[in-house]
């Protein structure tokens, strides 16, 4: 065990940090779930690509820099700490790309990967359907082979960024006679394919982040099947591992968020401390006033006047003390902040532990479900704490509120946490399915 970063990694961290700070956009782009913001984010993808930082863990032949897992984790830490825009290409880079590397033909790799790396092609995921959410194997959208093409009919929904994406990666039923998990294929569909209609669904935050996609005799080349026809489930589950585990949500973003939460708490403590200080000083003034009043009437006994003055002094002293230590932070909230920070560290070290196993040739199986539950609930708690710290202003739009609304989706997407807990119980602990 060695938890120091070697000089090579430290140099890498420096290089990464320097580049991100030098290239951070002056103004944050609009939401990636708006038409304009999507294109602004595409420009950021282009900037990252030109600097060699869009897909650092990929081979250099496809625009990466051959980073190992540790370098990638360092990159992610620096990325989220630096406050640069989020990744509009995350669906492609984090979920589809590992699948293309595993199952893609040489031609598919050579065509799709460089275009994904540069932001020329941005991907959305077309898995869920109105009748198939957690029960993904229940999908009905079908694709029928016709010469060199497949003809798709059906409907996908809840496709994040699906309205603006250039390509959609779908799971479709290619063998209508097969049951459930069998007879599915993984199909890559260009958004301009004839017969595809996309309609936005406004999310909770009123952004048009979701799309529902309708296929009416939508025709795509059979070359766009990823993996073997009929093997869609196995191919999809390989991507689901990436989605649930570290490739979608590295520790870096939560460490950065926990640090910002700590700063928010320190600032609120100072404000609350100052308010208490003011209140203390006010008690002081009032106390002193009582003392003065008593002395002025000349009829009150001197002791009351003295006591009033003493309360005045004590009140003022309390005001000053609270002001200096900033202990205006509610203890329960303080513990929530501490927990957020501890959880981010726990996720970080658990990830490094898993990374060492992966680098030694292990693989991330059902463990990914443990990670997914942990990061999604950590993210939600962390943002809920931030809103409690903001108090009256929690409902007023802010980055924290945006983050909270975003985090609310975490326990739902990539397989609900209820399903993940079933997976943990059945595949990690070995409990009976029925």
């Amino acid at each position: 065990m060695d938890l120091e970063l070697s000089p090579r990694y430290l140099e890498f961290r420096d290089e990464c940090r320097t580049w991100l700070h030098a290239n951070r956009p002056a103004e944050p782009p609009a939401s990636m779930d708006s038409a304009a913001g999507f294109e602004e984010h595409r420009l950021w993808e282009r900037t990252l690509f030109e600097g060699g930082w869009s897909v650092p863990a990929w081979p250099s032949a496809y625009g990466g820099r051959d980073c190992d897992l540790i370098e990638w984790l360092i990159y992610e830490e620096e990325y989220w700490l630096s406050g640069v825009p989020g990744r509009v290409s995350a669906n492609g880079v984090s979920l589809l790309a590992p699948t293309i590397f595993n199952f893609g033909t040489q031609a598919q790799q050579d065509y799709f990967l460089p275009r994904m790396a540069s932001g020329e092609q941005i991907w959305a995921q077309g898995w869920s359907e109105p009748e198939a959410g957690s029960d993904l194997a229940g999908i009905k959208t079908n694709a029928v082979r016709d010469g060199d093409d497949y003809v798709i009919n059906g409907q996908k929904t809840w496709c994040s960024r699906g309205k603006y994406a250039d390509w959609i990666f779908c799971i479709v039923r290619t063998d209508p006679t097969a049951e459930r998990h069998a007879g599915l294929s993984y199909l890559l569909v260009p958004a301009d394919a004839p017969g595809m209609t996309r309609r936005t669904i406004k999310r909770l935050d009123q952004e048009s982040g979701f799309a529902e996609i309708f296929f009416d005799d939508c025709r795509v080349s059979a070359d766009n099947v990823l993996g073997e026809p009929g093997q869609g489930w196995a191919v999809a589950m390989a991507a689901a591992g990436s989605e649930r585990g570290l490739s979608l949500r590295s520790p870096g973003r939560f460490m950065a968020a926990a640090e910002r939460l700590r700063e928010l708490a320190t600032a609120s403590a100072a404000t609350a401390g100052a308010a208490t200080g003011t209140a203390g000083a006010a008690i002081g003034t009032a106390g002193a006033a009582i003392g003065t009043a008593d002395a002025a009437t000349g009829t009150a006994d001197a002791a009351t006047g003295t006591a009033g003055a003493a309360i005045g002094t004590a009140g003022a002293a309390t005001g000053t003390a609270v002001n200096e230590t900033g202990s205006g932070l509610d203890l329960r909230l303080r513990d929530e902040v501490v927990d957020a920070w501890i959880r981010a560290e726990a996720y970080r070290w658990q990830t490094y532990f898993v990374a060492a196993e992966l680098m030694a040739g292990g693989d991330l199986g059902s463990e990914a479900s443990l990670m997914k539950v942990f990061w999604s609930e950590m993210d939600l708690e962390l943002h809920a704490t931030a809103l409690r710290l903001l108090g009256d202003d929690a409902e007023v739009p802010s980055d924290w509120l945006d983050g909270y609304v975003f985090a609310l989706g975490g326990p739902i997407y990539a397989g609900t946490n209820e399903i993940q807990r079933n997976i943990i119980a059945e595949r990690v602990l070995g409990l009976p399915r029925r």
Binding site: M1, D2, A346, L370, R421, L431, P432
Partner: protein, 334 residues
Amino acid sequence: MHFAFTDEHDMFRDTVREIFANQCRAEAIRESWDSADGRVRGLWATLAEVGVLAITAPTEAGGLGMDEVALVRVLEEAGYGGVPEPLVEHVAVAVPALAAAGAADLLNAAVSGESTCTVALATGGPNVVAPVAADLVVAEHSGSLLAVDSGALTVVPKDSIDQSRRLAEISFDPEAATLLAGADVALASDRAALGTAAQCVGVARRLLDITVEYVKERRQFGKPVGSYQAVKHHLANVRLGIEFSAPLVYRAAWSVAHCDDAVVRGRDVSMAKATASDAVDRACRAALQCHGAIAYTFEYDLQIWLKRGWSLSGAYGSASVHRDRVAGALGLSD
């Protein structure tokens, strides 16, 4: 950066796991409850023989010269095994303190297993573990550590819900004790919390294993209770608690062994203990609930680990005490 145990660590872990599985079975633990000193016959000698008592002692003193990283791996197993010996006190705290003070004779006796040590630290509160079984107490006094011979102690025993924890309040004449110059109180306290955190993780793992086996077998409404989602989710939560506390314990072990900054070291240890205490508390609750009435009996062996969990969760600082310390390190308290 390589966050993994070595083959040597794993081999040592396997060795002690086997020893505990053979020599510290539930029947042996129950027998120890009826003895005067609360110990498992012959176990201490075996632990001395394989070097468990000497893990952290320098090689010149007959020790293995390994660090806290190796140690937490073994202490986790001690938790898993329900071992009723004062292992954390002896191996994690007393031995390094005696070594730091250059107390050669006392160290030799401790490393060879000839003596058993326990500790009395402010962070452990008034209840000292196993002073009756111990020959030597490493005791905090006025910011220093003293070595106190058990013959010089006044011992007032106290009951614990855990029959394996023979508690007592002790007093002694500091003038009659030996000052362990060079041994650091803060470091000793961190080691006690770290070692206990490792045991908490081991206890939680055992509670989970016992419960998983039980719910696979126990049938109600015609199927195993472990097939019900409510039970599954309880146990998935226990697994989550273990999954995300163990790495903090290993990371803290590294900090204790290698970090010179006492604030960072203390923060890492406290993150580990707070999280491990929470994890074992959750494991206790879920294990009892998923078993049902059988776990509420004295006869069923789950109680060994339930009670160990309850007591170790609070030992050398509860989760809230350690959260408070993390808050300090993060600049969130006075």
